[in-house]
Structures are given as C-alpha cells and as structure tokens.
Amino acid sequence: MMVNSENRKANKFNTKGNWFVIIVIVSFLLFPLVIKNDYIIDVAFFFGIYTLLGLSLNIVLGEVGLFDLGHMGFAAIGAYTTAILNTTFGIPVLVLIPVSAIAAAIFAYLVCSPIIHLKGDYLCIVTIGMGEIIRLTLLNNPFGLTGGPNGVFGICFPSIGNLLVIDSCVKFYYYIWIIIGLTVIALIRLQNSRIGRAWNYVREDVIAAEASGIDVRYYKLLAFVIGAALAGVAGNIYATKLMIVSPESFTFMESCLLFCIVLIGGMGSIPGVFIGAAAISFFPEIFQAFAQYRMLIFGAVMVIMMMFRPGGAWPRQRGKIQTESIIIRAEKSEI
C-alpha cells in the first residue's frame, strides 16, 4: 500500500513534468516552421552551440565542481581536428564527429592527468593556461597545419552521401537540436546513475567521497574527458556551420562566457544550461539596437541576473523525481 501511493505520487509528478517537457520539445520542433526568418533561426542555432558547450562544461563545473576556465580549448581541438582532416583528406564531417570527440578527450586526458590534484583556483589558472596555450599554438601555425591567424577554411557541409546535405539554416537548426536532444537524454541518465552521483559526491565533499569508496581522481578525469569529448562535438558542428575555424573563436573571453552559462542557469542543472545559453546568445543580439553600448548593457545584465538569482535561474531540483522514476522504470523493465 505504502509503496503504491508513493509510486502514484511520483507518477503524478512525472506526468506534470512530462507535459512541460513535451511542450518544450514541440515548440523547439515547430519553431523554424513558424518563424520563417533565417536570421532568427541562425541565432537559435548558435543558442544550440552554446547549449551544447554549456552542457559539456556543466559536467566539469556543475557536476564535479572543477573550475574550468579554458573549456573553449577543447572545442578548438575538436573544431581544428574536423577542419584539418576534412580539408586535407576529404573525410566526411559526420564521420569526424566521433573523431573530434576522441581527439578532444585524449587531449583532455593527457593534459589533465598531471594537474588533476590541484585545488580550486589553482586548477582554474591551469585550465586558463591550457586554453591560452592551445589558442596561441593554433595562432602560430605549427607545422603549417592550422593556417595561423587565417585559420582553416573550406570545410564541407555535413552530409550523408547525396541523400541529405545539411546546408540551410533550418537543416542546421534541426541538426544541432537533435544532437542536443540525444545529449540531454544521455546526460540525464548519467546524472541518475552511480557515475552522476559520484561526481556530485566529489563536488560536495572530496574527503567524504574518498572515504565512501569513490576514486576521486578517476571521476574528476572522467568528467574532464567526457566534457572535452562533448565540447569536441560542438567544435565539429561549429566548424561545419561557419566553414572556417580561426583562433579568435576560441578566446579566453569565450571560455568565461561558458562559465557564466553554467552559473547563470544553476550548477549541475541541465534546464539551467538552456537558460544560461539563451541569455548569453540572445542578449547580445537583442542589444544590437544599442550599437556600441550593447556589451556595456550585457555586462550590467549579467550582474543584475546574479543579484536576483545567485543560485542560478533554474537550480537543480533534488528529491523524489529522479530516484523515484528510476525505480519505477527498473520495476517496469523487470516485468
């Protein structure tokens, strides 16, 4: 009896949540059909890029609490991997998505393993340094690979043979939002697994986590590796959309903006990332009307947002919803 009523409550809660999710998904799907303005669709596409990058940083910063202010560096690795392999060997960019992810992940593993023991702000400056090292190296055109300040251009559109070529704004919009949809499902599942919990334990209290049998070093590295892989995917899409990659897309300022996305939304909160990314990508466009005042207003808005919602616009809700739903699904699958 007890269990039943609990389940029912959880179900009720879930249906309410589900309705909201369905509305969001439908509005995202219908958006380009209703708004037939390529500029707005492109703004929504770059909102998607920031969402994907925000989700990837959210793993490192939000879930594990590691200060990473060089995250754009990982995206740069992914973008340049795609650009170089596509332009020199003509490998299709869709094939290069996993390649970019793996390249960024391997890079993150190699760079982060010696520094993963650093605490808080010390880790922060090391990630800043890492991001700057990547950017400066790309700028200096090592081995004639990266094209220096000009970057690499002539990257192809994503395509499956001649069946489907993603070349218009609308197609790019669906392309990125479908990838985000899949990513969100995977990330929610990770959040509700022992891995997601282990990340949170590390964020909450490192020593208690270790004493509870959590391999802190492993989980910190895992977060960096997965975060970097996801950023690498975002870099790939970014490169194919702009058809050019150049170092000024991966500056320290961009990494700072990603940091803000996670904090504006709320640490470790997936819906929060959407809100943060929306703020970061829409505000500068809305403020276009103010010409050279636009970044000034943007800065002020950032301060004001933190004044009113210091914990983030949509902090992660803990409690029944996630644990209950798992058990219900587990029971269903057993039946």
């Binding site: 520094i115 605490k119 010390y122 340094g129 090292i133």
Partner: protein, 303 residues
C-alpha cells in the same frame, strides 16, 4: 651580457606592474575568497584618469605642477579614482551576492568587467590614446654602455617603494594583523571584534588604487593605453598571483616579478611568438610540483 642586463631590467619593470596589480587580486582573494575579474579594468580606468589629467589637462597639470609633479598628481588621481570605483563595484556587484557563495560572484565580476571596459570605450572612445611626450619626456642615460631610460628606473623604484609600504602595513601594523586574521578565518576574526566591513572597504579601495597607479605608470612608460588592455594585464597579474601563491602578499610581489622576467627570458631564448605558451607551461609545471604556488603554504585540510 649587455643583452641580459637590459632584458632583466625590462622584465623587472613589466614584472613590477604585474606585482602591483597582483597585490589587488591577492588581497581581495585572501579576505573574500573571490577572484575579482574586474580588477584589470580598475587598472585601465586609472590609466585613463591619469591620461585625462595629464594630456587633456596639460595646461593645468604640467604648468602648475611641473613635469614630475604632474605625473605624481596623475598617479594620485588615478589611485583615488580607481579606489572609489573599486568600492562602488564591491557595493553594487559583490556585496549583495557573496553571502550566497563565491561562484555567483565570479559571474558578477565578469559582468562588472565587461561593463567597465565598455564604459571606458564609450566615454573615451575606442581609439587607443597616448601619453604625449610633452607631459612625459624621455631621459635616456648611458651607463656602462647600457641605454637606460630614467623613467624606467624611477618607475621601478616607485613600485618597489609602494610594495614595501604595503608589506609594512600588512605585516607589521595592528591593522595589517587584522587583515591577515580575516584572511585566515573571517568568522572568527569578526567574533574577535575585528571590523570586517572596514577591512573589506580597505582592501577594495587599496587594491584598485594600486592597480590604478600601475595604470598611470604603464601610460607614462609605454605611452600607449587602450580600453582593452586591462584584460591582458589582468590575466597576467592573476597568473602571477597564482604563481606566487594566492592570498599572501609577498607571493603576489614575487610572482609578478618572476612572471615579468620569465616573459622576457621566454621571448629572448625560446620564441617571441611562443612567449606566452612558455610562460603558461612554466606556471603549470610549477603547480604540478608545488600545488599551491611558489610561496603558498601547504593547505593541510582538517579532517
């Protein structure tokens, strides 16, 4: 030999600018545990204030006060202006936020930084400005075959003097002891009757004031100032702070000087283009082996 001496001197000069800015980062971090990303922009603001007084008000400043008096007046104005701005930013952008944790304050600090930087652009215009030669003349001397700018020596001496004064205040006076106590444990310090509000006021006035002074020095020495330079200097000074060990005063001073010299060595002996790569690599290597910086104390976490 001549080359090395010249480069060391240049490295120390730029390093002393980093140190002065780094002190602001370090003091604020020590007490508030907050990375004040807007700090580099206080530096730019000071530089522009000094420019306004010296260049736009040349008739007044240099004629009534003389060349040297004008420069000192510019530094004072910059220090007071940046200090005031620092207090304002603390009141508006940080104070309402830091009770809820240090991370939201980072976003607020970034927002403040973007705001100040773009305000400077709107007020003074986007084009870079220059401290003109009427107000900051060169005095080039020839010592043992070395060409040395007198201004460089004076700037070095002045920044060492400022650092010395700050060191004395923090390490030897009762007020300094109060600051250090607040840095160790803010709650306990407050219970012991230390006026935390006064301390915060002081560090948010003094840090930017030092930064603003450094801004004028940069203008006097290099002449060119631009509204985005705070970002670059701020990042370097933050690196210096961490390199020395954040939260302690001598760490910031030493860190800045080491960073300045490293930059010069890197660009002389490694590569000009890869200079910053070299600097960050050294920083990372130092942190791998000394996780809390060169002079940082080992943090033994209480279990």
């Amino acid at each position: 030999m001549k080359l090395i001496v010249e480069q060391l001197l240049n490295g120390l000069t730029i390093g002393s600018f980093y140190s002065l800015i780094a002190l602001g980062y370090s003091m604020v971090y020590g007490v508030m545990k907050l990375i004040n990303f807007a700090h580099g922009d206080f530096f730019t603001f000071g530089s522009y204030l000094g420019y306004t007084l010296l260049v736009m008000g040349t008739a007044f400043a240099t004629s009534t006060l003389g060349v040297w008096g004008g420069m000192i007046a510019a530094m004072l104005v910059a220090a007071i202006g940046s200090g005031t701005l620092g207090i304002l930013v603390e009141r508006i952008a940080y104070r309402p936020i830091y009770p809820t944790g240090r991370l939201p304050a980072v976003v607020s600090a970034l927002g403040a930084s973007i705001f100040i930087q773009n305000s400077i652009m709107v007020i003074w215009g986007a084009r870079p400005h220059a401290y003109t030669s009427e107000v900051v003349p060169d005095y080039i001397m020839n010592i043992f075959g070395l060409r040395i700018n007198l201004l460089q020596i004076i700037i070095l001496a002045l920044s060492f003097f400022l650092m010395g004064v700050l060191y004395y205040v923090i390490q030897k006076t009762t007020f300094g002891a109060a600051i250090r106590a607040s840095a160790l444990d803010r709650e306990t310090a407050a219970l012991m009757g230390i006026n935390i509000k006064l301390i915060i006021f002081f560090i948010f006035a003094l840090g930017p004031a030092l930064g603003g002074t450094a801004g004028v020095m940069v203008g006097i020495y290099y002449r060119k100032i631009s509204f985005i330079m705070g970002w670059n200097y701020g990042l370097k000074a933050f690196t210096a702070t961490i390199l020395g060990g954040i939260g302690n005063i001598h760490g910031a001073m030493i860190g800045g000087l080491i960073l300045g010299v490293l930059e010069m060595l890197g660009s002389t002996y490694v590569s000009t283009a890869y200079k910053d790569v070299f600097v960050f690599l050294v920083l990372i290597l130092v942190l791998i082996f000394r996780p809390t910086g060169i002079l940082g104390e080992k943090i033994a976490e209480k279990v």
